[in-house]
Amino acid sequence: MATNKLFFAGSGGQGVLTMGQMVTYAAMYADMNATWLPSYGPEMRGGTANCTVVISTDKPVSCPLIYEADNVVVMNLPSLVKFESLVKPGGNLFINSTLIDQKATRDDINVYYVDAGGIALKLGNARTANVVMLGAVVEVSKVVPVEMIYKIMEKTFSGRKAHLLDINKQAFHAWKPE
């Protein structure tokens, strides 16, 4: 893998931008090249949110914009409808099945249904749904080393937030492929 393009989409507040940033940080810590690019528009709150991450192992990232993605994460139904076509043939589509009861329509891609909200709720912290999803993405795609995700978690959940470290690590490993 020289270049891996990831796309995360959902609604504001679902931790979509954070997922992308965590992958980007992990890539940086692993001495890879990376770019993180959010969609941006005039609205300040609500609406849809998405971000693009491009990781390159052997050279600087040529282009932070994508026309197709190796890995696409959709956290709500409008994102599935809009971005299923973005997955490159043979690529991975991660569907947040907690909120999306539709199935993917394509058969030339790998589809993973992740009950991110349900799993997070069982762990006792519904706000870790995006970390559950991130765990699935990293588990399947191997795009960044797991230790680097730990490194970010340890930096993020320190001091007053230290009590959140364990639950986030658990959430990260909570999803298992069927």
Partner: protein, 358 residues
């Protein structure tokens, strides 16, 4: 080497220019660069600097002119329509030979336009939107790291030439995050140093001489002399400030010319074409004025076509034609209004163009 950090463009730009010695910021909010005044309002007071939110872009550029005339290292940032308002000041600053670092996050136009990336202000920034004979060096980085390096050097460059210096980015670069290495902070100039370092600055005549910073020259012969003196400087800038990056142009059949965000799309298009066996290259002007015309001299007879790729209806293409000097056909691939092509779109259009010229 310092540690890599992941930074959002707008904050990285602001941090870089502070590390480059800027201690005064004047600005007016405008999308997509408002994170810069926000950052400056938080950071400058902590580092002995001053932040002032202006009543308008006219106010901002003139505050910066006052600051620069008084010997301070000033920084202003805005976006296309705001930069249009600031043109009065830019013409004035150039005539009065007052240094200033300017960041322009250009967006779609004309008019209020859109807030998405645009390059339709190429004429405005390279040909001067203000009145009179003047030039402002304009640098268009294509990555956050490159923007940091240019912004870090910009205050010293502006001082050295006693002229404004502009860095042209867009909202995409402002919002993007990339791993970067920040340079070591320079020691800023203090007010007490100014009379010694910049005797021309208005810091009070108690320094031993009276200083006047001016641009009015009512006698035409005096103004002509002044402008000729300015152009001796601009001519030296043309020799010394050209910056360009060339990639795979020696045997390229098709050569893209692109700057900023568009250069990253063009680079990917080049790589896709190369992977398909089509020899493609890229000329990426980093300085838009002075434009690196000489880079085109390196093109060989293997080249079939030069393609200016732009986020406008085609403005840089005029400089590309000057650089190509009629040796090859020059074509345009473009989107405008804040629309971005995909690299695949560029590839497809390039193949069509190649069929036409072969």
């Amino acid at each position: 080497m310092a540690e890599k950090v992941l930074m959002k463009g707008n904050e990285a730009f602001a941090e870089a220019v502070i590390r480059g010695g800027v201690r005064f910021y004047f600005g007016y909010p405008i999308t997509p660069q408002s994170e810069i005044p926000e950052f400056m309002s938080r950071e400058l007071p902590k580092r002995g600097g001053k932040f002032l939110q202006a009543e308008s872009e006219l106010g901002a550029v003139n505050m910066a002119y006052g600051c620069g005339a008084a010997g301070g290292n000033a920084f202003i940032s805005s976006s296309s329509p705001g930069i249009a308002l600031m043109q009065e000041g830019m013409s004035f600053l150039c005539s009065a030979e007052v240094p200033l670092t300017i960041l322009n996050a250009s967006r779609g136009g004309p008019g209020i336009g859109s807030i998405q990336p645009g390059q339709a202000d190429y004429f405005q920034v390279t040909r001067g939107g203000g009145n009179g004979d003047y030039r402002i060096p304009v640098f268009a980085p294509a990555s956050i790291q490159e923007a940091i390096d240019i912004l870090y050097d910009a205050p010293a460059l502006a001082d050295e030439w006693r002229n404004p210096v502009m860095i042209l980015v867009d909202g995409l670069m402002g919002q993007m995050m990339e791993p970067v290495v920040l340079p070591e902070p320079k020691t800023p100039v203090t007010s007490a140093d100014i009379p010694k370092l910049k005797p021309w600055a208005i810091s009070g005549s108690e320094k031993g001489q009276r200083s006047v910073v001016k641009s009015l020259r009512l006698q035409p012969e005096v103004l002509e002399q002044h402008v000729e003196k300015l152009f001796e400087k601009y001519n030296r800038m043309e020799q010394e400030l050209q910056k360009v990056e060339c990639d795979s142009i020696e045997d390229a059949e098709v050569v893209f010319v692109a700057f900023g965000t568009m250069a990253r799309l063009a680079r990917e298009a080049m790589e896709i074409l190369q992977s398909q066996g089509i020899k493609a290259g890229l000329i990426r002007p980093i300085s838009l004025w002075p434009f690196p015309y000489y880079a085109f001299d390196a093109l060989t007879d293997k080249t079939k076509v030069v393609i200016s790729t732009e986020l406008s209806m085609g403005q840089m293409i005029q400089d590309v034609q000057l650089g190509v000097k009629g040796r090859f056909p020059v074509k345009l691939i473009h989107r405008t209004g804040g629309m971005l092509p995909t690299s695949i779109e560029i590839v497809d259009k390039t193949k069509k163009i190649l069929e036409e010229v072969r």
